[in-house]
């Protein structure tokens, strides 16, 4: 083992950054009881701006720095005022989902070319630094970027500690975090304290991003801060998400562990495995404290898109029956015929390929409908399970197994993996499955999919198509068939005992257990089924792509999947399918390929936020409103009553909702 001084010093420097991020996470968690997945990304704008101003506009560093940091703080305040404050009384799970969307939305500055530093200049000059000295410690050269971290972070943390401990504002923040009701009675404005906390978090995030940028290109090119976030989360969890000094120290410790691991085992992402183990161990050891703080935060999460039940009397009326069967058959026929329709160039094989991807996203949507909508468990690793399915498909195909059996077996493997990942989170309720699944997503890309004994060739695998799936169109129909099968399975599940038990456990797990329902059992079933369906999506994805590498299954994709599910309407089967169609299907109609990341992020993050704030039932909500109106009308006709007020058209509804008003029926 190599425990050299140089390795430890490098670890401490890296760890200082993790510690600073962890402090930001813990601050927001203490004040508002949710894990802020957007924390690392608040600083993106600052790091981009500083680079642009110094490299391209030739501003002096000292002038550009305050401006860049100010931009980060401004973004944080804006987020708090526009999003977090609106969700002040919402369940914490909803706020956490909002932070997932924010994490995507805040990456947008990176995609606007005008405010980014010129890539060539960046490569030539490096990210700007205020000074360029080099110090030799033993065999190690420390450069300007390392020294900047060593100088800035401790000062920053000390200043923050003094602020929280000795100023009136700091004490008010701590009081509001400790007991909001009592603090409010004592004359402290909890809302103003929340804004203050976000300002401080924004400052921390901005500075961390600026300090991190010279060391790593993550903030500027590709990728997201997911692996950074996981390390900061690990530090926060060790500190029970409450103790700031412990969080900071744990961050440094994780940096050292990571550095030592890397020095001894640099290949194959063993570092990621170590980080994953730390997260899981911290969750398990701290489960009691974490769930105590979290108990009321996690129960009874209902995203509200579940369909209002159609009265049984109505289901017997022939007109309504015809309408139900007719509309679902119509959608199915349209979907099946899509790759031969000569509109929008849909009958080309390039579009058929893109449509196949939409079917695999629809499958992921179904899995999230079950897991998050009905189970109340947010997963940030669903696309990693897609990866599990895809790699399993390649391995199984190498053994000469038929493609339909591959779907079944890969699904079973996905189910087992999903249960294994979810198991530690079962002991803690609600919010923390998001943490374990995020850690799993990072582990999958960084470690699992890099191991030759798991995936064959880490540099990329090739999945040959069987003769039945010889062209893009037949792969699409294969994907569509799986969507239909899984839709029927999920629908059956919801309408039978196991599905009802899952919702009962989500809504009131104490009462459910008192009726003899095993909460753990119901949740494990949800994990397994969602894992099965996600891995099936992976099989479709694999047959469509044929060649894929670990970056295809990056954690960002899992974030996008959650967004897609919320836009469609969580907890509704049509919502799951409509979400995939709206986010990925409609762009296929108008674009040749999906090269434009920008639109994806905009539709993803911004669309998700809009839906969460203004129409929490998603697209499915509009569909159900129309359906209910039609059913009510037909019921009245069957009873011989006068016609009810006219149906509000969806667009008008949308407009009314966007302006914060109740939609008025046309008279």
């Amino acid at each position: 083992m190599n425990f050299g001084l140089d390795v430890v010093i490098l670890g401490v420097i890296q760890g200082l950054l993790y510690g600073a991020l962890a402090i930001g996470l813990v601050l927001v968690y203490r004040a508002q009881r949710f894990v802020n997945f957007a924390h690392a990304n608040i600083g993106v704008i600052s790091s981009v701006l500083l680079g642009k101003l110094v490299l391209d506009e030739h501003w002096p560093y000292g002038l550009a720095l305050p401006l860049a940091v100010g931009a980060g703080v401004a973004v944080a305040l804006l987020v708090e005022l526009t999003v977090i404050r609106r969700l002040f009384r919402s369940p914490r799970l909803v706020v956490m989902v909002a932070s997932i969307f924010l994490a995507q939305f805040l990456l947008i500055p990176r995609l606007i070319r005008q405010i980014n530093p010129d890539q060539q200049t960046l490569v030539n000059n490096g990210y700007p630094l205020p000074f360029h000295p080099s110090i030799k410690v033993g065999t190690l050269y420390l450069h300007g970027d390392d020294l900047l971290i060593v100088l800035v972070v401790p000062v920053l943390v000390a200043a923050l500690a003094c602020f929280l401990r000795f100023t009136a504002y700091g004490q008010a923040i701590r009081a509001a975090a400790e007991n909001p009701e009592a603090a409010r009675l004592a004359g402290i404005s909890v809302k103003r304290m929340s804004t203050l906390v976000w300002g401080v978090a924004g400052l921390l995030s901005a500075l961390t991003a600026i300090l991190h940028s010279p060391k790593d290109s993550v903030f500027l090119v590709g990728g997201s801060g997911a692996s950074l976030l996981v390390r900061a989360l690990a530090a926060g969890l060790i500190a029970k998400m409450t103790n700031l000094p412990v969080a900071f120290a744990a961050g440094i410790g994780i940096g050292v562990v990571e550095s030592v691991t890397f020095a001894n085992e640099p290949s194959g992402g063993v570092v990621e495995l170590v980080v994953f183990v730390i997260v899981m161990a911290a969750l398990l050891l701290r489960s009691r404290e974490l769930s105590k703080a979290n108990r009321d935060a996690s129960s009874g999460i209902n995203f509200g898109a579940e369909p209002t039940p159609v009265p049984r009397r109505a289901a017997r009326i022939p007109a309504i029956r015809r309408l139900t069967i007719g509309s679902s058959l119509g959608c199915l026929v349209l979907a099946a015929a899509a790759p031969v329709i000569p509109l929008f160039g849909l009958n080309t094989s390039a579009k058929a390929f893109l449509l196949t991807l939409v079917t695999s996203y629809a499958l992921v949507g179904l899995s999230l409908c079950l897991l998050t909508g009905w189970g109340g468990q947010v997963s940030l690793g669903q696309f990693a399970l897609v990866g599990v399915g895809a790699y399993a498909a390649e391995r199984l195909a190498a053994h000469g197994i038929e493609f339909w059996a591959i779907a079944l077996l890969a699904g079973a493997i996905g189910a087992v993996v999903a249960v294994a990942v979810g198991l530690p989170a079962i002991r803690i309720q609600g919010l923390f499955l998001a943490v374990t699944t995020l850690a799993f997503a990072v582990l999958a890309q960084g470690f699992l999919f890099q191991q030759s004994w798991i995936v064959g060739d880490p540099a990329g695998v090739f999945l040959p198509r069987p003769s039945l799936l010889h062209d893009e169109r037949s792969v699409y129909w294969f994907g569509l068939a799986l969507v239909v099968i899984c839709t029927v399975l999920v629908r059956n599940f919801r309408q039978s005992g196991p599905g009802r038990m899952l919702i009962a456990v989500r809504d009131n797990d104490k009462a459910a257990r008192s009726s003899g329902i095993s909460a753990t059992g119901a949740r494990l079933v949800a994990f397994a089924l969602a894992g099965f369906i996600a891995a099936c999506a992976g099989v479709v994805y694999a047959y469509a792509q044929q060649r894929y590498v670990s970056t295809n299954f990056a954690p960002d994709n899992s974030f996008t999947m959650v967004t897609m599910a919320v836009i469609g309407g969580l907890g509704s089967i049509p919502g799951a399918l409509l979400g995939a169609f709206a986010v990925f299907g409609i762009p296929v109609l108008f674009r040749g390929s999906q090269e434009s990341q920008f639109i994806q992020f905009l539709v993803g993050g911004a669309g998700g936020l809009f839906v969460l704030l203004f129409m929490p039932r998603g697209i499915a909500g509009l569909v159900y409103d129309v359906r209910d109106a039609v059913v009510a009308r037909l019921l009245r006709r069957a009873d011989g009553l006068p016609a009810p007020p006219r149906i509000v058209p969806p667009l008008r509804q949308l407009w009314a909702v966007a302006r914060g008003r109740e939609a008025v029926p046309l008279s």
Binding site: G497, A504, D507, A511, A512, S514
Partner: protein
């Protein structure tokens, strides 16, 4: 050894004791929430549990349900030691519980809520549910749920979600769930919390009817003294984790320590203007559920 007819008769005559708590202690940190409590409920009996806030009543009930693990002592349900058994298995011994908030499952309709309560008696397996087999079980549950809806007069709410109902209606759905589950021992935690005085007065006769129908024993936490004294065969009074008095309602409400610690001396708390405390009944008639005429 074969069981003789006499053995069978013996069982018939002396059915197992629904609940036996021995020297139960629960400590949270240094605080004794429950401190050496022993309590017994005999077959068919209604036992009231009174005491001021923080006396340990709900903690005691949570121990019986299994949500709180006792530090020491034992809990026996119908002759089975369940001290280490998890909450979701206790209903299989015959335990039922109604919660103070009657929150039910806000996302499920009343019909579905009743079907969840019936699940234990006619479970649908996972694969049967997924593949759409086992329809007979589902139909049975739906049929029984429909019957219960009719029995409780809930037709107008059958397809409404529990989250949309008023507290009073949710209490009725909660009672329907109890009928569905057919418990042999029912734990009621402040069943009249949050409902109007008139409904509180209607609750007593309703509970008696349910008792006659199902034949369960009851452990009742309640602050409404007239209700407790009229319903309970015996009352335990608790103070800071200990039982300070036990006996018939008349004995307990006249106990000096109970008056000092809980009731106070005002008559209004003990009796409503038009009611008197009922005369003490002979304690704990031992009766088998079989013998009861329904």
């Amino acid at each position: 050894m074969t069981a003789t007819i006499a053995d069978a008769l013996e069982l018939e005559i002396a059915p197992e004791v629904p609940l036996q708590i021995d020297e139960l202690t629960v400590r949270f940190g240094g605080v004794h929430a429950v401190d050496g409590v022993s309590l017994e409920i005999r077959p068919g009996e209604t036992v009231g549990l009174i005491g001021s806030n923080g006396a340990g009543k709900t903690t005691l009930m949570d121990c019986v349900s299994g949500y709180v693990r006792p530090t020491s002592g034992s809990i026996t349900l119908f002759g089975t030691d369940v001290t280490q058994v998890s909450p979701e298995l206790r209903p299989y011994v015959g335990l039922g519980r109604s919660f103070q908030d009657a929150k039910l499952y806000p996302g499920l309709t009343v019909l579905e809520t009743l079907m969840v309560a019936l699940e234990r008696h006619a479970p649908t397996g996972l694969f049967a549910g997924l593949l759409g087999f086992g329809r007979q079980n589902e139909r049975d549950k739906r049929y029984t749920a429909d019957e219960l809806v009719e029995l409780m007069g809930l037709e107008a709410y059958a397809e409404k979600r529990a989250g949309e109902l008023s507290t009073g209606t949710r209490r009725i759905v909660d009672l329907a769930c109890i009928i569905a589950q057919q418990p042999k021992l029912l734990l009621l935690d402040e069943p009249t919390a949050g409902i109007a005085q008139r409904e509180t007065e209607a609750f007593g006769p309703l509970l008696r009817r349910l008792k006659d129908m199902i034949g369960f024993a009851v452990l009742l936490i309640e602050h409404d003294m007239p209700l407790v004294t009229s319903l309970a065969d015996r009352i335990y009074a608790m103070e800071s984790g200990r039982v300070i008095a036990e006996g018939t309602p008349a004995e307990v409400v006249n106990d000096g320590r109970v008056i000092a610690s809980y009731l106070g001396t005002t008559e209004a708390a003990i009796r409503r203007s038009e009611h008197d405390i009922p005369p003490p009944r002979p304690t704990a008639r031992r009766r088998s559920p079989r013998k009861k005429v329904t």
